[in-house]
Symmetry: C2
Subunit: 389 residues, 2 copies
């Protein structure tokens, strides 16, 4: 990979981010009447459902705040972030300090999940918006919510999901992962006050280590739970955890953690890649039983976004040819299959053969997040590689 | 369709039911140590998860009780039904009179749903077992649970799912449908004491009528709710509702209801059939927006089972050639794609092209129910048609 190749890639990523993906959300998602963003957007950007999902509101606030941080002259990014941040602050929180999962277009509560992720993306968005806008109310609110999230993790019965004497005591990869990402975002380089929490999350994640990868659910004793849930591998998730961990290895200057995370990314990609049709499977059973998820063999946009950035980041550290080759392998599949060259943004869901199965650009779980995040983070690495060359 | 054709079909259905499907469950599902049945069975019948799901326990008790009712000399059917009925009675009920969704292999509670279906299949299984065994405890228990279910329907907040001021007031097709089926099973021909409930269910189902079909969720005012959920068509479900309604039209000698249900079956099948690859879609958006369910274009075993019986039943009443042709169309796709000739039973999940995507025979939602129920009901119709010819 010579300088020309890297510059070409950087241009391609920038065109995709600033010429296709971000304009789509600017043109179609913003609700100037009620505030907030619409997230159910059809192929052409038309709204097919006015329900607003807080996961996606929080993530889009984060994304536009990040874009403003990177492009300080573009005031419109900050204005767009404000529309979502205000809407969340005014509507998303319950009286008990939890966060609804979905709201009507006007902000009335629709539903709540028995999970912590609405709270997490609420805190993620408000924190970043508070920082780039300089409005401390949002930072304070994000820290308050972070406190509530720790409480929910310690006392999960508060989420309302009953635990019985036969309920398997499984630890979920998603929780320490999202917390590590949240601490990284909220604390940035001032993370010393979180060192206890960081240690705890890293220990919890290591429990999930299995055959060189990270599996989704593990017994609290670190033993494999012999069930579909206990044998579940979500390759995109493990690879995303891999790059979260690399960021922490860099902050903590921990070489062992860097090697650990690099291996996870490489091993999981090897196992998760479909050698027949290409692309990364959504779910696998680690012992090759039949996965029970109906969508297990589909190719989703986000595992590819995570892998794209993970291998580029890895290469920028190791300069290993195999890491670069894997980056290019993911890049070719991803750019070939997902982008919608006509209407902008990316399709999200392909069948095993790589054919588009869902024409929408935004849905209850796909919004303005994984695609632009991966592109923005990758552009920054490509920039660094250009300077080095 | 001459007599030979009907006799050939009947033999084929009987071979499938008694030579392939039922032996699979007898050989692999029964837990003689702890009681109950295993329902997570791989292609070859091996157990890949020991969790026991009450939906499937209740349904399998019902199925073996029905088989005994039809084949009174086969005591083993009754013995097998007893193993599941005892296990349910001893383990499945909460102190509040609800029913867990899943249990450990020894019967300890694992999880509960915020839905009424575990309760419904518990009542369904115990009622039929009580009748064929003559053990009144089970009939009493089924009627007690039926009372609890009505209470949960009247006061859904008891299920634990919060309702907010933005939560759309939608009526779900599944509830009046399952209740009509449950009354049919529990009351049989002695249904006069349920006439208020039957009327209420029929009215609720008619609310869902849309473009000649039945959609899943409708505003309580009978208006289409403009959302993915409000536009959802589950063709297999609407067709299943169709034959439940035909049974009631026959019991109530209601010609208008018969025409109504016949149209639903025919219109839904026309809309739900995939003209390119064959088979019935799992989910559609009634206004042809992109469905949000990841599995929308998959071909599942159960919508085909429901359609198989629905068209045969319809033909036996109308003697219309188009109803027979549709029966044969479904029969050919279904028998061509789903049965596992080597190991017995049927595969459950195909992709849009009709290729097997999941190799298991039993999973968290697939057990000993839709396949043998459709075969048994169809055999009885084919028997009747043979006699008429």
């Amino acid at each position: 990979m010579n300088k020309t190749e890297i510059v070409t890639l950087k241009n391609e990523f920038e065109n995709e981010l600033y010429g296709s993906v971000i304009p789509f959300w600017i043109n179609h998602s913003i609700d100037n009447v009620n505030g907030g963003y619409y997230n159910h957007l059809d192929k052409d950007g038309s709204i097919y459902d006015k329900t607003k999902n807080t996961w996606l509101l929080g993530r889009q606030v984060w994304m536009f705040s990040k874009l403003f941080r990177q492009n300080q002259t573009e005031k419109k990014y900050l204005e767009i972030a404000k529309i979502g941040a205000d809407f969340l602050l005014n509507n998303a929180k319950t009286n008990e300090g939890r966060v609804y999962f979905s709201l009507t277009e006007k902000g009335a509560p629709v539903s709540i999940q028995r999970k912590i992720f609405s709270e997490c993306f609420y805190a993620l968005g408000l924190s970043e918006y508070g920082k780039v806008s300089g409005d401390d109310r949002f930072i304070k609110e994000a820290k308050y919510m972070m406190g509530n999230i720790w409480e929910l993790i310690e006392s999960p019965e508060k989420l309302g999901r009953p635990v019985y004497n036969g309920t398997p005591k499984l630890s979920s990869l998603a929780i320490p992962m999202i917390m590590l990402n949240l601490i990284e975002e909220i604390a940035e380089n001032d993370f010393s006050s979180y060192s206890k929490e960081i240690d705890s999350c890293l220990k919890k994640i290591r429990l999930h280590y299995y055959e060189g990868m990270l599996i989704e659910n593990i017994g609290e004793d670190g033993k494999l739970h012999d069930s579909s849930s206990g044998r579940l591998l979500n390759p995109g998730h493990a690879i995303e955890a891999g790059w979260f961990l690399i960021h922490w290895a860099q902050k903590l200057k921990n070489k062992e953690l860097l090697n650990f995370s690099s291996d996870i990314i490489r091993n999981t990609f090897l196992r998760g890649w479909d050698n027949e049709f290409g692309g990364i499977y959504y779910f696998l059973d680690i012992e090759e039983k039949s996965p029970i998820q109906l969508e297990w063999d589909m190719k989703l946009w986000w595992p590819h976004c995570e892998s794209l950035y993970a291998f580029l980041l890895l290469y920028s550290i190791t300069k290993r040819e195999d890491d670069w080759k894997n980056f290019i392998k993911v890049k070719e599949y991803t750019f070939n299959k997902f982008p919608d060259k006509k209407n902008g943004e990316w399709f999200g869901y392909l069948n095993r053969r790589g054919e588009i199965t869902h024409r929408f650009k935004g849905g209850p779980y796909k919004g303005c997040f994984h695609v632009p995040r991966a592109l923005l983070l990758s552009i920054n690495i490509l920039e660094k590689l250009t300077e080095e060359n």
